[in-house]
Structure formats: C-alpha cells, structure tokens
Symmetry: C2
Subunit: 282 residues, 2 copies
C-alpha cells in the first residue's frame, strides 16, 4: 500500500463544515488510527473536536481514480494553530509525525507529503526566518523517513487572509506565500499549489469545505505531474459533481449504514434490513 | 501534570451518543493530540469517526473535583473491535499505546491505566487463554512505562451482552468477566469495576452515554480507594445531575463559544459579542 503524510496547521487538518459537501466513502482510502489502518471517514484529522474537511480526502479520491487496483493510506498529523517554530525537528509535533509515519511504513510506502502551514507566522516579520525553518524541517523528514526524493506539496495560504474575523491578524500572509513559492521553486521535489479563488468559513481563516475539495485536486495535480500548480484547474467543479454521484461498492454501502446505525439514526431492524438489501442486490 | 492511559476496545474508546448527556468542559482535563495536550472535548478517542462517550471523561471530572489544584491528561489508545490477541506486547496497538504514553510522559506522570476489553473474546472458548494474555500485557506495560505499581482498573463487560443486536455473539461474556475479576483479585495493584445496572445502545454491545458516565465514576472509586468496586455507587445519579449544573470558568465558557463558532452555529459578530460578555462578566 502507498501512503501520504499530512502535516501543517488547521487548514491541513481541515475545518471545512462536514455538512457542506457530499461525503467521500472509498474502501481503497485508509486512515491511520492507533498505528493501524481503517477505512477513511471525515474528519480525517482529530487534532481538535471541531475538525472537519481538509484537502486530503479529495486528493486521495482522485488518486484512487487514477490507480484503480491500489489503496492509499493517509497519515493525519496536522495540528491546528501550530507555528513553524513548533515544527522544529526536535519538537513534539515533528517527532510525533515521524513516529506515526513509522507505524504507517510498517505496512505501506510513503510516496508524498502534503504541507499547509503559515497562517500562524503571517505577522511580526516571521516570514524573514521562515524559509530556513521550513527547509530544515523538510530535510529532517526526508532523512527520518528515508525518503530523499518523494514529492512535498506546499499549499498556498488563502488569498482571503488579512481581511475578516480570525484571518485579520494574518497581515503578512503574502510574504509567507512568497517564501512558500520560493522554496517550491528552488528545492528539488517540492511543488507549489495555488489557493486562487478558494474561500473561507465565516471565521476568515479556515478554508471552506468546497474549497478544500478543490484544493485537494490541485495538490494531486502537483503531486502527479511533479510541477507547480499556479492556476485553477478546469475540472474542479465538474469533478466534485461527478464524484457526488459515484456508485458505492457493497462494502462502502454497508459502511454508510453502519455509520448511521452507530450514531443512533437507525434501529437495529432497519440496519439489518438495509444491509440485507445491499447484500441481496450484489 | 498527572495522566491516565486508556486502552481496550470500543467501550473504552466510547460509543455512547454524545447528545444523550450534558457535555463535560473542564480546563483542567487535557487530552493527548499529536504528542501534546489540548483541553478535552468529547469524543476523546478517535479510533473511529463514530466515536462517542466513554468512561474517561467522568473519571477525569471527579478526579479534578478531588484534586482542586491539579490537571489531568487523558491518553486515548483504545481501538474498537480489538481482541486480546491484538493487544499482544509486540502488536501495533500496544506499541502505539506505549509510544503515545511516552509522549505524554515528557510532560506528565502516568498514575493509572483504565482497561475495558473482552467483547471480542466472548466466544469460541477464548476465555480459556485470556488470563495469561492479559497478565502478559499488563506486565509489559508496567515495564515499558516504568510504572511497576500504578493501579490498573479493569471494567467488567456489560451484563446486557449475549442478548440483542451485535451483542448477541458475545455468548461467553460471563466467562471473560470471571477471568477479569480473577486477575483483579489476584494481581497486586489491579482492581475490578462492576458493570451492574449499566445498559446498552440499541446495538446491544456498546454502553450508552449515561452508563458510561456512571462507569467512569466507578473506575475512579476503584482507582482512588485501590479496591474492587462490586456494586453501584449511591452517588452516581446525584453526581451526574449536580455536574450538569456546574458553573463554567471563563476559559471553559469561551471554549464552548469557540466550538459553536468553529462548527458554523454562530456568526463572527455573535461569537465576538458572546466572548465579550463572558470577559465583561468576570
């Protein structure tokens, strides 16, 4: 199995409202839990109880479309509110991410890292020292994971920052974006993904759910083509609409029924009847 | 800071419906996330996206009542559906729990382990080999965590098992309960907690939310008195009602508002107004 490490702050963890987008159920997408793999369900990250939609689910979904015989595992290690200093090689976030990745590597091969971080460094001239810190983190991860040339995909901070709500304090997000772009352009196997036209929750800092779905597609474009993605992809809206209509496999349908039942929205009789129908219709 | 390791299967992870009990918000209760501490919110465990109320929150809440100047950290490592064989010392669940505990121990002292597991071993005469496997796990954890004499609290499997829904397959739960009681009675620093009068979700296997709150109080009774708890505690219902009326601190009130806002249930203006009121009323 292949796997992807997810690191950064809240917009990698995901804060899009779950009810705003059709769910992604795919038995070939796994998530790491307690050192093992489970079928993915969102929220994928659990850094906060209010975690929601991030970019990784649509990234993984389009990956499975293009790799019809394979499975992909997602390793959620993003931490809301974390600054680049908190991602120092010897800090707990980095050490924990490496530790989780090592569990994943017992049964999978890590083929990429998705990074989104910088809102917490978009003030007080922190951009001036950001580049070296980011480079040192990437180098450290490549060494620790023994992955010298896997692609690291760097997402741009939202263009909506600096305006409203909690986003207002991110006054230097453009300077951080310049550094992110510079790193992606100069470093081998690092690629940049634009946040053009992506929009925020009412808090002005967290990307909304639909934007996260699109962002994930852009991350995949950069990952698969190994090049910077500097503009909106033509297929974003169409892809989202098409995926919402994708027929579920038998296992996925049962997973949905199990979720409804586990949350108390079905009686045991209804659950058994629905599962029986799914099995019968196979 | 003190901390508690939570291990076992789904009823330790928690599957009680969140909406069935008043939430517990307490700034002196933390949960481990990405190797660091966050203020606790339920679901505390994230082994599945359908995780809910387990015994640890009320355990921690009554602990803070009795330790008014201290904080407690919860280390969630329970895994739904796991059998005792999956908790072998060299398996990923145990190694991952030890790894998480080691992150916790960088900033806290582990003072206890809560164990609830056995539904997945309540058939096929698995009870015959359960005792040695459990003892070997406990010995291994005591060695790895360098905690030779911290209390390990063992919760009894629900008396409702073997009857309905998914619980129907747990036909030998009484045999497992006998083994759990034997281990708690014979081993030093191991204590047993009855599940008497506790009830299940409609699935017949997962303890409901109110029962989990009571179970947590019993776990604490065994932990603090260092003795087996073999009957219902008189104070359970009263305690739950009293706690539901506890006044929140300023930080806890802001946490509640932040949660509502992060989930899109308040506008930014409403959020700011509410927070301003909380600060003003101090």
């Amino acid at each position: 199995m292949k796997s992807i490490l997810l690191i950064g702050q809240s917009n990698m963890a995901g804060r899009g409202f779950i009810e705003d987008v059709p769910p992604i159920y795919n038995e070939r997408i796994k998530m790491l839990r307690n050192g093992r793999w489970q079928m993915m369900a969102e929220p994928l990250n659990f850094d906060r109880h209010i975690s929601g939609i991030g970019p990784a689910a649509s990234f993984a979904q389009i990956w499975t479309n293009e790799h019809p015989e394979e499975s992909i595992g997602l390793i959620p290690c993003a931490e809301g509110g974390s600054s680049i200093d908190e991602w120092s090689p010897d800090g707990p976030l980095t050490r924990h991410a490496v530790s989780e990745a090592e569990f994943a590597m017992e049964t999978s091969e890590i083929i990429g890292i998705l990074w989104h971080q910088g809102e917490s460094d978009s003030f007080g001239e922190r951009y001036k020292t950001y580049e070296n810190k980011l480079l040192s983190l990437f180098q450290h991860l490549r060494e620790e994971l023994n992955a010298p040339d896997i692609p690291i995909i760097i997402g741009e901070l939202g263009h909506y920052l600096g305006e409203d709500g909690f986003g207002k304090s991110a006054v230097e997000y453009q300077q951080i974006n310049k550094v992110l772009y510079k790193v992606a352009s100069e470093e081998t196997d690092c690629f940049f993904v634009t946040s053009k036209n992506l929009t925020a929750n009412p808090d002005g800092i967290h990307m909304d759910a639909v934007s996260q779905r699109k962002f994930g597609l852009r991350y995949y474009e950069a990952f698969s083509k190994r090049e910077n993605v500097l503009d909106v992809l033509d297929m974003e809206q169409t892809w989202i609409e098409k995926e919402a209509k994708r027929a579920l496999t038998k296992n996925e349908s049962i997973f949905v029924q199990s979720t409804e039942f586990a949350l108390g929205r079905l009686s045991f009789e209804e659950f058994m009847e629905n599962v029986s129908k799914i099995n019968g219709n196979e």
